[in-house]
Symmetry: C2
Subunit: 389 residues, 2 copies
């Protein structure tokens, strides 16, 4: 077991109509807020926007709005939010939406406390030291940003995506109303499931030893995702499966499952290049790449892949040919993704030739080799992209 | 899945020499602290006391000491600590020890912010609304108070034990140095293991349905406890097993495993009467009573006990006689306790006749019937005490 530091101070509330509590929760920390959201059809037509405004008004809060968050959120909108916070002396940022909205809100919250440009934090020119409090109303179980210490932004000028990680940007509160997730279409539901399952795998595929507690918890969380995913594939309106996955997406990514162990994250890094070059949806990059990554690296740690096969997918261990068991586990992973119609080849996400593979591989390794279970260089990464064709 | 609210804001640090960080952690929140500890041989002879003082002095903190905490901690010592905090205007309470020390520190922390007598909170005459921050240096993995929202005290005048629960008494930080636990004698080690295992069972034996995530996590935590307990029974100096159990005791009891489900807690309530009447060690009351409680109630929810047998103890399910499987699981639980020489009958903890059973049963139910899985009245409780003879 490795040493660790871990904190997750967010207050989590899961209940029907939880979104309506936002006014009273903000009131405990501030008299004003910036309400950040997509400004899309769902936000308005579902009645969510009205309910949030009503809650803010009932609590007597001064509020301003920042609509227009897009997937792969842009620093340009963040700058607008920061300006508003400074001009109006706003005390709190409320994110209503999925990971993009929450990452935007976190960026606004650190930028509002800084005299320079917020991108300085993402480009590592400066380190944030404080933040406005952020609250979230969750609408899309996937990224886990509702409980995490991270924010990822895209700089449209440079095309670069970058992150900030700090415990003080973890949300002060997160409100989960499972009803808000019942209407998420199948495609987005599936990519959310792939994302949260991958967040656990990035931590599970570790080279740390004597980590029974987190191994068993990771395995339990993965088994729970599989059970609830199967329930949703039968009925997208299954309230209980929706509720469990809402909470699971946070548990998968708040850092608890990584306590005392190193982590991998090569697949996320490789996937980010696919998003940058082909605008591929995050979840789709993971369903394509994770099984290929596993096939490329499993020999580095066969017992771990045997354990994965046996404990997560219930594969009986062939003790005379454990490699076969390891490979069977990876096959089951791919089948799990395919059972939900998640893509498992680059071709299926519209990447039809290998002309950008070398550049993507080099970009993936621009800060150094990647991966905790097995260290990968640009040649390795290129090979994995080729396997995924 | 039930609705829930959950928060666990504590910063947890596990590393060698973690205790030495106490000065710098306190410095982030206050310039002064009250250092609460047992004042026993271990605290002084192990060098722990010196290391804490050195850390507080290096950080330039003003500090005062409150030694003399006893098991089943007394409100009288708490009152002394409160007086000191008020007189010296102390800004933080540092607990160095096990659950009794931490519960004492939490009580001092709420009492220091209150004009009346601190027992008012425990007797429910008043509700605490604020607290000094509490930090902990953990020495005994068992109660999980290092991450929990509870404090239990004994009023020696009335003989009554009572608790306070509030999220704001969760520690600000908890420092875990596994080396401090290597010298815990077998008996105390075992009672700690029984305690943390029981904290999971109290949450696992629930009547809530559609709780896959927390079921799997509870099962994982229990399996991890069994694996690490077996390692320690072979070698009490196993650093990794000690480290895992240190963190496990907190995960078992910070409330995460209860999110979205109701809980039982009848066994803890029944055990508290044994402690009150016979001064029985907390862990021993649980190893005696839990298997008997299970045998008394399992018919209420056979699938849950079958699942426990199968998933936690690896019992193959007899699908034609599931009750047999349920009972086999309970037998394995008793055998697990016995494998560590934990007592599994009242006789073994010196309770030789049933003269106090009726009174204890009535006292256990004085606030109403108990138990979340099956509601128990005083007759049920008396029957369970009799089964445990």
């Amino acid at each position: 077991m490795d040493h660790f530091e871990f904190m997750s101070p967010t207050k989590f509330i899961l209940q029907k109509d939880a979104d309506k509590l936002c006014g009273e929760e903000i009131k405990k920390i501030s008299d004003s807020c910036l309400f950040v959201h997509y400004g899309d059809g769902f936000t308005y037509k579902s009645g969510l926007h009205d309910r949030i405004i009503e809650s803010l008004e009932s609590a007597g809060l001064e509020y301003y709005e920042l609509p227009g968050v897009e997937p792969n959120p842009k620093v340009s909108l963040v700058r607008k939010g920061i300006e508003l916070c400074k001009e109006k002396n706003i005390g709190c940022v409320l994110a209503v939406g999925g990971g993009s909205v929450i990452d935007t809100a976190k960026a606004v919250a650190i930028g509002a406390k800084y005299d320079g440009d917020v991108w300085d934090f993402y480009s590592k020119k400066a380190i944030p030291t404080e933040s406005l409090p952020v609250g979230t109303v969750m609408t899309l179980p996937a990224t886990g940003s509702e409980g995490s210490n991270g924010s990822v932004l895209k700089n449209a000028q440079t095309g670069e995506s970058a992150d900030v990680m700090a415990d003080f940007i973890r949300p002060a509160f997160t409100l989960m109303n499972p009803d808000l997730t019942l209407t998420i279409p199948k495609r987005q539901t599936v990519f959310g499931i792939v994302d949260m399952f991958s967040h656990v795998m990035e931590r599970y595929f570790s080279s740390s030893v004597n980590v029974n507690l987190t191994d068993y918890m990771c395995e339990g969380v993965m088994k729970s995702i599989i059970v609830n995913a199967r329930a949703l594939m039968k009925d997208l309106n299954d309230y209980n499966a929706r509720a469990e996955l809402m909470w699971t997406s946070i548990v998968a990514h708040n850092g608890l499952l990584a306590t005392g162990r190193n982590q991998d994250w090569a697949t996320h890094t490789m996937g980010a290049q696919l998003s940058a070059q082909y605008n591929a949806v995050h979840g789709s990059t993971l369903s394509v790449l994770f099984p290929c990554w596993a096939e490329y690296v499993y020999k580095e740690n066969i017992p771990r892949f045997v354990q994965f096969a046996n404990r997560v997918f219930g594969v009986d261990v062939d003790f005379y040919d454990q490699e076969k068991t390891a490979l069977e586990g990876i096959k089951r992973l791919r089948e799990f993704f395919e059972s939900m119609d998640a893509p498992t080849s680059l071709e299926k996400i519209g990447v039809e030739n290998d002309e950008k593979f070398r550049k993507m591989a080099e970009d993936a390794c621009r800060f150094g080799n990647i991966g905790g279970l097995k260290t990968l260089n640009a040649d390795d990464v290129e090979a994995i992209y080729k396997m995924a064709q």
